[in-house]
């Protein structure tokens, strides 16, 4: 989908400081309906902080976030979930003593963002968690807990999904399945902002990428173009790029 279409999400000069450290220093981008935008950059570049601010986990220190035409910066997480924004976490955060089904039930009952009710059995089956539905989440391995984190987010029927390093720690087969799932969701009209270090995964899932460095945007375009961009090469590999 073209980034010039009416944006679902507009991030405008977003700032976040931790003491004297500028984690986000005026980041701006737009995300269209059904578009998958990759957010890449070295460690500490501000990718996860960006997701944390958009999802309401951290308050921003400047700039604004507009979702479906309305400012949402400063809104609390539960209100954002009900408005159609949800996320996964870099370290999955399931409700460990609750069963897998109860994990998604909480989200479906409290955070549903409108539209048709979610068929939780079908959701769990689509993510291959149906066989564990009545087990406590603490029994799942880390890959399954990541998948459950995704299931919890999807149970709210989000229109914007913020995906934070969902692929880390998955084996190649799990990685492929996860990439296919995200692509299917995007094809169904869900917009996504995907933070990931695995470039193969980013290439399969995203339509375009933004490269961050030290809290600033240094590139916006396709991943293929990013790999040829001198600034991106310098940030990722160090030294001077040769055109």
């Amino acid at each position: 989908m073209s980034p010039d279409a009416t944006p679902l999400l507009t991030v405008d000069r977003l700032e976040k400081r931790f003491g004297g450290f500028r984690a986000l220093d005026g980041v701006s981008f737009r995300l269209a309906q059904g578009e998958v935008l990759g957010l890449v950059g070295p460690n500490g570049s501000g990718k996860t902080t960006c997701i944390n601010v958009i999802s309401g986990l951290y308050p921003g220190d400047g700039g604004q976030v507009v979702f479906e035409g309305q400012r949402i910066d400063g809104a609390s997480m539960h209100k954002l979930a009900r408005r159609g924004i949800n996320r996964t976490f870099q370290s999955p955060k399931p409700f460990l003593s609750l069963t897998v089904r109860e994990n998604v039930e909480v989200a479906a009952r409290y955070g549903h963002a409108g539209g048709a009710p979610v068929d939780l059995d079908a959701l769990l089956a689509s993510l291959e968690l149906d066989g564990h539905a009545n087990r406590p989440a603490e029994d799942l391995n880390s890959a399954q807990q990541k998948t459950l984190d995704l299931a919890r987010a999807l149970a709210t029927s989000p229109r914007l999904l913020l995906v934070d390093e969902l692929a880390a720690g998955l084996n190649p087969a799990e990685l492929n399945r996860m990439a296919d799932r995200l692509r299917q969701l995007a094809d169904g009209g869900m917009s996504m902002l995907v933070v990931e270090h695995l470039m193969g995964f980013i290439d399969r899932v995203t339509d375009r990428v933004i490269v961050l460095n030290a809290g600033r945007e240094i590139f916006e375009g396709t991943l293929a173009d990013a790999t040829r961009d001198p600034d991106v090469i310098r940030v990722f590999l160090g030294g001077t790029a040769h055109a």
Binding site: H78, P94, E105, R109, P136, A155
Partner: protein, 317 residues
């Protein structure tokens, strides 16, 4: 990976019925107990700790916040009752409402404590209860609270009626816990306990959920404090604000197992039963036996007695 046996599927209606039956059975047993056992004060103490443990269960078992100063709400309830009787000549039931109101006001004042967590919350709550005690027992407030000299409410002394009301409070508390265990709201509280951030991202208003649980828990302690004042009618600040109430409620709840109906009930019946048995028959060994029992439980069953069953996949009411 520590794999728990898959929970045996239980029909939801049968599950709720089991919870309701247990709550009703306990309420009935305590209601008829005075007709078969003459020591009504001991029975009242059982009812009081059954209710306090479930009240603590509401905030600790369902949200994970452990209020070591839980006695503050109990004392506020007792003194709210006493002040309403002494100064307003309120009838006991109206005075009970005043006691409950006092506990709720204290709970509202203390809501900023939720900015803290873990041990910090527990200690701050304990300090808050101590602060309320210091105000109540201040000799300069003798005209209002009778200061450290205690209150006498002999005009409303009615042990049978106050016992009946205490059983009514216990019954209401048990049914509240049944509702929390089987309701959408209770599920959201358990989510908050597990991970407040993930709960918020699931659409749960963490502040609202926690505050409601906190107020319910304080209300229960306030009502119990009111029945306590009504039942014994003569008491001192150090009685109503005794740390023993908090400690017993915490220990009983942990001993049985939190977030269940059964756990705190087991804790009270077993530990308070032992307390009243060996404390009288072999008082010289009481502290040793009691302490050993609690240490053994913490070491071998940190999730309480009910975990013996829940670890095997059984759902305990």
């Amino acid at each position: 990976m520590n794999v728990t046996p898959e929970a045996r599927p239980v029909n939801a209606r049968r599950r709720i019925l089991g919870d309701l039956l247990l709550a009703a059975a306990v309420a009935c047993v305590m209601a008829v107990a005075p007709s078969v056992y003459s020591n009504q004060l001991l029975l009242f103490n059982f009812v009081m700790f059954l209710t306090l443990s479930q009240g603590l269960n509401v905030i600790y078992g369902f949200t994970g916040y452990l209020p070591f100063g839980y006695v503050g709400f109990f004392g506020a309830g007792a003194y709210g009752f006493a002040l309403a009787v002494m100064h307003l000549h309120a009838p006991p039931l109206a005075a009970m409402a005043a006691g409950a109101g006092a506990a709720l006001v204290l709970a509202l004042v203390l809501t900023p404590l939720f900015r803290l967590s873990g041990a910090y919350f527990a200690i701050a709550n304990l300090a808050a209860a101590q602060a309320v005690y210091e105000v109540i027992s201040n000799p300069a407030l003798e005209d209002i609270t009778k200061g450290p000299y205690g209150v006498s409410l002999s005009g409303v002394y009615a042990p049978d009626t106050s016992y009946a009301v205490s059983v009514a409070v216990l019954t209401a508390t048990l049914f509240l816990v049944v509702w929390l265990r089987n309701s959408r709201f209770g599920l959201s509280l358990r989510a908050i306990k597990e991970d407040p951030i993930s709960a918020a991202m699931s659409g749960v208003s963490v502040v609202r959920g926690r505050t409601i649980a906190w107020l319910c828990s304080a209300l229960i302690a306030g009502l119990v404090g009111g029945t306590f004042a009504w039942q014994i009618s003569v008491f001192y600040p150090e009685t109503a604000f005794s740390a023993q109430f908090s400690i017993f409620a915490v220990v009983f709840t942990l001993f049985g197992g939190v977030a269940t109906l059964t756990g705190p009930l087991l804790g009270v019946f077993i530990l308070y039963g032992i307390y009243n048995t060996i404390g009288i028959t072999v008082p010289q060994y009481f502290q040793l036996i009691y302490g050993t029992l609690i240490v053994a439980l913490v070491l071998f069953l940190p999730n309480g007695l009910v975990s013996l069953l829940t670890k095997r996949g059984y759902r305990v009411p």
